[in-house]
């Protein structure tokens, strides 16, 4: 009954609300039309950094500041790896990210990150960068077995990348270890003293006062994942497996291939036949002799069971045959540049144990994983520790020096560091946490950090998605960004100086001087030049808010209704090939003259834009105000009507 009484007042309120809403829509429709010609998108991007990785997050924050100097807003956003990788694998909608990728001991990153074959779901070319010329060079390099010619092909490939810049290499986070100073004999190698491909450390590490038989203890942040050498793929399991199992070849301190189970080898000139001679005195840990049959069995096992690891190698091996007990011959389908590097990754497994097994069978630690390596499985408590003891029958004379190698799980990083300081453990698996670097530098009981310093395998890059924003496809923008980054400062802040600046895509600091390209294109820190490049390319700050805007859109001069590349080029002082438009090379002087002209243009433009913006802002603000009032009145009206 009250509802009836109040209904008229409710109706009036509703009408009032409606009358307020109508002008709101009218401004919405009108405003953009009048404002659109001068409304251009800003050079503003979201840059993902990896939230749990302090190096990535710190470097991201510094990068954001650096790029502000050239009028680019690069908003650093710490993001979880689940979200990031889901996007890289399937959605491909990110704009920019900055984090580490990780090097293999041979330069596989050009193919993995930049070859167009990797543009697919779960592919490693996250940026979606594609360049047929680069693809051809990489394909050729992968088939070139001559080192020098291959290196030259890779130089060419890197020069293309340096022009297109799908990503910019920043620095490697280097490996400095806290090791108690009574230990010596370890080998420094790019990637770290303790790394799965650093087999030399495991055989030569020893106590200062005790040449043989000392017991070494290493702290792990968590327990190993696998006891199966084929299925081991995380750094923790791989280190254990590399001590228990052997490969045909290994690496020296400069990442050159050295003999291991194979004493020598011969690659035919066409690269299709590789003959390995293997050591005569190698035995499996259960006493059975290791012969060429085991090597052949291992490769056949990989091929027959279609094991999803080392596929690139296995699909290029046609067959393997043995010649006597100690010679094995690989027949290849095509020459493969990294054949030895990939063979280094294949653990040789005993035929008499694996012949009736699936490749991923859960090797039970109670039954002891049987390998041929310098250390044998001894004992373990699941989740807590693993003890390996020296293999007294190891085929290499006088190796290993240690008596035992114990791995102990200490979950918390400060507890690990304390354990090293008290001597309960002698080192830890991974590099020193940034928070403990200062304390470690001062500790007289540790090996001086400089003596453990290795160029790290974790390479930090800033990567630009080629699919999302046209500005990120424009080499001019990316070159300007490259010039605006002070890489050494990133290292100093994010890694307290323990990092190596990387200028090229295959940095010689990691891969060796042989990879140094004398004509490499590099970008030395130069904010002035960066700003000039952006000015010349038409990215100007037209609304004077400190952030540059996209260049003026192309004019539709041929009258087909679509402003596109077929039309005459935009009225922007020419930079070569802007937006598909030919331009002329300009010298720096010419650039600065044209810069002056732009500045005058910009001032007049700014005034226009400012008045337009204020008009727009007023109308927008008014609309919002009206909308809120309308909603409130509507709510009151509904409320009254229901009473």
């Amino acid at each position: 009954m009250t509802a009836k009484k109040l209904a008229p007042s409710a109706l009036i309120s509703l009408l009032l609300a409606a009358s307020l809403i109508v002008p709101l829509f009218s401004t919405c429709i009108v405003a953009p039309v009048s404002a659109s010609p001068e409304e251009r998108e800003e050079l503003s991007f979201e840059m993902w950094t990896l939230d749990w990785d302090t190096i990535s997050v710190d470097a991201g924050d510094v990068l954001e500041q650096m790029l502000r100097d050239i009028g680019i807003r690069m908003k650093a956003m710490p993001t979880s790896d689940e979200v990031m990788y889901d996007n890289f694998d399937l959605e491909h909608t990110y704009e920019v990210y900055e984090m580490s990728h990780g090097y293999n001991p041979y330069p596989s990153q050009l193919r993995d990150r930049c070859h167009s074959d990797e543009i697919m779901d779960y592919g490693a070319n996250y940026a979606g960068y594609s360049n047929p010329e680069l693809d051809a060079l990489i394909n050729e390099a992968y088939k070139e077995i001559d080192f020098e010619e291959r290196t030259e092909l890779l130089w060419d490939a890197q020069r293309i990348l340096a022009e297109d810049l799908p990503y910019i290499p920043l620095f490697t986070s280097d490996d400095v270890h806290a090791i108690r100073k009574e230990w010596t004999g370890f080998h420094r190698m790019p990637g770290g003293i303790f790394n799965w491909y650093n087999r030399l450390t495991s055989i030569d590490l020893r106590h200062v006062d005790q040449e043989y038989g000392a017991n070494f203890i290493m702290a792990y942040p968590s327990y190993i994942r696998r006891y199966n050498p084929i299925h081991a793929s995380d750094g923790r399991s791989l280190l254990v497996m590399s001590m228990v199992f052997d490969a045909l070849v290994s690496y020296d301190e400069d990442l050159n291939i050295i003999p291991w189970l194979a004493t020598d080898w011969d690659i035919s000139p066409d690269g299709l036949t590789i003959t390995f001679n293997i050591v005569h005195n190698a035995n499996w840990h259960d006493g059975v002799p290791l012969t060429a049959e085991d090597v052949k069995f291992t490769v056949d096992f990989y091929k027959e069971q279609e094991i999803p690891y080392d596929v690139a190698l296995m699909e290029r091996i046609e067959s393997v045959e043995t010649d006597g007990d100690y010679r094995v011959i690989f027949h290849m389908t095509e020459p493969y540049a990294w054949v030895l590097d990939d063979i280094e990754d294949v653990p040789i497994i005993p035929q008499h144990i694996w012949q009736d097994k699936d490749w991923d069978w859960p090797v039970h630690p109670d039954a002891m994983p049987i390998g041929s390596g310098p250390f044998k499985w001894d004992s373990y408590v699941d989740g807590e520790w693993i003890k390996l003891v020296a293999n007294p029958d190891f085929w290499m004379e006088g190796k290993p020096h240690l008596g035992s190698f114990t791995i102990r799980v200490i979950s918390e990083s400060s507890a690990r560091f304390l354990a090293i300081k008290t001597g309960e453990v002698h080192t830890e698996r991974y590099e020193l946490d940034i928070g403990f670097i200062e304390a470690a530098e001062k500790d007289p009981n540790l090996v001086p950090l400089e003596d453990t310093w290795c160029v790290g395998m974790w390479d930090y890059v800033i990567n630009f998605n080629q699919r999302t924003d046209p500005a990120l496809k424009d080499p001019a923008v990316k070159k300007a960004i490259a010039y605006a980054i002070d890489k050494q400062r990133l290292v100093d802040i994010a890694r307290l100086g323990y990092g190596t600046v990387t200028e090229t895509f295959i940095p010689p600091e990691f891969y060796g001087e042989a990879y140094r390209d004398p004509e490499a294109i590099t970008y030395e820190y130069n904010v002035f030049l960066a700003n000039q490049i952006l000015d010349a390319a038409g990215y100007l700050d037209i609304d004077a808010d400190g952030i540059r805007e996209m260049p003026a859109p192309a004019k539709d001069s041929d009258g087909d209704g679509i402003p596109d590349e077929k039309d005459a080029c935009p009225d922007v002082p020419g930079r070569p090939e802007y937006g598909g438009c030919p331009g002329e090379e300009e010298t720096i002087e010419e650039l600065s003259t044209s810069l002056g002209e732009i500045r005058t243009d910009v001032t007049t433009l700014k005034a226009d834009v400012a008045s337009l913006r204020s008009q727009l802002n007023t109308s927008i603000n008014m609309s919002y105000g009206l909308a809120i009032v309308a909603i409130i009145i509507a709510i009151v009206a509904v409320f009254l009507a229901r009473r």
Binding site: S80, D81, E82, V83, Y85, D86, D89, H101, G102, N104, D112, E118, M120, Y122, G123, A124, N215, I217, S222, Y223, R225, R226, N228, H231, S233, D234, G235, S237, E306, P308, Y309, V311, D360, W361, P362, S379, V381, D382, G383, E384, W385, K387, S404, T406, R408, V409, I410, S411, E412, S414, A415, L418, A419, K421, T422, E424
Partner: protein, 328 residues
Amino acid sequence: MGFKEYAGKRIFQGIITIMLAITLNFFIFRIMPGDPTRAVVGDPRIKTETRLALIKKFGLDKPLLEQFILYFYNLFRGELGISFVQMGRPVVEIILGRKMINTVILMGSSMSLAFALGIVFGVVAAWKRGTKTDVSSVVLSLATYSMPVFWFGMLLLLLLSYYVMVVPIAGTITPGLIHANFFEYAKDYLHHLVTPMVTLAVSFFGGYFLFMRDTILDVFTEDYMLTARAKGLSDRKILFKHAMRNALLPMVSIMGVHVTFLISGATMTETVFSWDGLGRLIYDSVRNSDYPVLQGIFLIMAVLVVVASICADITCAYLDPRIKEAAE
């Protein structure tokens, strides 16, 4: 409704709850972001072919509904699946082994210690209400109650394992040591147990203490306390025979709720002291997206909670006829 019907109804409810828990448990992990194949490989530089092979192997390419039916079917055969991270090991074996024993021992001992201390101090503080003893113990318990447990744990670690070096820094036993007999083993184990147990006991103590103190203060206002006093009983007798006994009942039900901690463990404490229990397993599994293990732990926890509460309800109903009547 008789006792049997009540029990039957309660058990039926319990089964429904467990079914719901299983369903939720299954879908929660499918909604979460993150690619499980990356967890299997454990290396972000995973090759495409490796990933596709693993997706097929684990049946992750099948439709969600089919995966769910398979999951249910396997559950009834007692299979919780295979860990992604510790490749090839059944989840049941990982959960119901050493880790569970370690957690039960750690949580059991620290909770009992905190419980006992909480009761004693609670009674004394209530008795001496308003005195310095009372005020200082309330302040102390509030401080320990609000202290972050991992922070206190790290301080204790720094003090006892680094500066004084009386207890080991991590683990449950000395690595690589072959113990001569069980007593040697037990001694080593207890030596490792000291710091995490004390840390947890301190963190639990505040809650128990405050609760006990309040309950006793409540009991003091009851009529039968006045009667006891009027009868001329000694203070000691009033406090321990009358007040404490009655105050213990709510304490016991609190303890009952906390029983689930026995299984879930204390993630923070176990991580700080590298105690190899279920709490740290949860932490590691979350970090490595080891869904099968997480599903297994959550399932066992859910079942345990449901079963424990059914047992408690039925026992209470048996003992206290009022509950049965209320159900009718």
